[in-house]
């Protein structure tokens, strides 16, 4: 009975929030209503158990509960994307140079414009970084301590949300990418 209530609360709370909800916030919410004890080491485990239970409930449905950018969020299932995307007005996909720039920033962050240009072997148009910045995918992370003090760039939590991953570690590993077999991974 109590577990059902806890599950409903977690479900409703994550559902209502525009951003991924961290487990810490969920623990605080349940503690506030005395549904779990304060300062119990097992709270973390319990919340995780609840989230897994919910996640299982939503497996193979139109909505899925995913762990994104260090939090939990409901999203439409990617396998039914083709059915629902046509009617929703979608922004354009990123261009190849924007996507490569984003990839370099993700792997080499914090890095400067010059670093990006060096790896790609071409100069980087201002519009590309402007666009990535506008989408909230990258953010300045201070200045490099060299003459000219160029801006250092890094990725944002929105970048993780965009890709639907929980952590930068979820990006493909370097070793995976260096093999001579062309990388083909299409989860759709």
């Amino acid at each position: 009975m109590k577990e059902n209530l806890v599950l409903s609360i977690i479900e409703a709370f994550i559902f209502a929030q525009p951003k991924p909800v961290t487990e810490k916030v969920l623990i605080a919410l349940l503690q506030q209503h005395h549904l779990i004890e304060a300062d119990n080491n097992e709270n973390q485990l319990y919340i995780h158990h609840c989230l897994t239970s919910l996640q299982n409930h939503y497996a193979n449905r139109g909505i899925v509960l995913c762990q994104i950018a260090d939090g939990w969020q409901f999203r439409t299932a990617s396998d039914i994307a083709s059915y629902i995307t046509q009617t929703i007005n979608r922004p354009k996909r990123l261009t190849r140079s924007a996507m490569e720039t984003l990839a370099i920033i993700a792997y080499h962050q914090p890095c400067t414009r010059a670093d990006i240009e060096q790896i790609r072997g071409v100069s980087l148009a201002q519009t590309v970084t402007d666009h990535l910045l506008e989408m909230g995918l990258i953010t300045p992370k201070g200045h490099k301590k060299v003459p000219g003090r160029p801006t250092l760039w890094g990725t944002t939590p929105a970048f993780l949300e965009y890709l639907g991953i929980n952590d930068l570690c979820d990006l493909p590993k370097r070793e995976e990418l260096l093999g001579d077999i062309p990388y083909q991974d299409n989860p759709l």
Binding site: A16, I84, R96, E100, G121, P172
Partner: protein
Amino acid sequence: MDYVVSEHHAEHDQEEDSFVVHLEGFEGPLDLLLQLAKTQKVDLVRISILQLVKQYLEIIDSAKRIRLELAADWLVMAAWLAWLKSCLLLPEKPTDPEAAEQAIDVLHERLEALQQINRVAQWMQNRPLWGQEVFGRGEFEDLTAIDSSGILLDMPRFINAYLTMRRRQAKKREWSVKRRPYWTVKDALNRLRRLLGKDDMPGWQFLEVFLPIFTSETILSPEEKRRQWKAALSGTLLAGLELAKIGQVQLNQTEQFGQIMLKVQSSE
């Protein structure tokens, strides 16, 4: 040369245009090199650099014939690769063989780094992206309730309000400096002019003669009286000096702190 180019242009108009577009389709010389490497279908480590260099130079050569304004970075890469090619073909030449090896390593590294990024970008493109294939809830619920039953009242605010109000009230009171019944220079000047206009003031007179007779309605202390007399005297002296300046009177003092004498300036 001009002739060759124009002939070439006339013959392969279609092909050539597509070729130019083809070159511009690459994101720089390094990107082209990577694409050429891919056509060798072997691991980047085992790739034939010589073959790669040859291919690149051939493309740039033919592109140069068509478009003389080829961008500098394409040509810089071409020059560097031409040097590398010469090192590879003539290993016995007294050029530094280590430099050539290093150059090959650098090229390998740069191609590998770019290939890695190419693949990450591809991986990212293939992900179900937020806002593209995957969506969040269309409408979010605002789950905040505002409790405004409390009152924002604390000691700093309270004290501040009291002080501000009292200060404001204090400012509104009019302050006027209490007028002291002292003889002013202006008073003295008027009195002097009036007295000097009379004919019965011939010759030198003591300055004190011109002082007014004080009849105060309030009883003054001796201290106050002395101050009043001093003010009148200095006022009269200043008035006298003023009149002397414009030549109406003469002033005379025979010794320091001595009596000051005043005389009407004769009109001649």
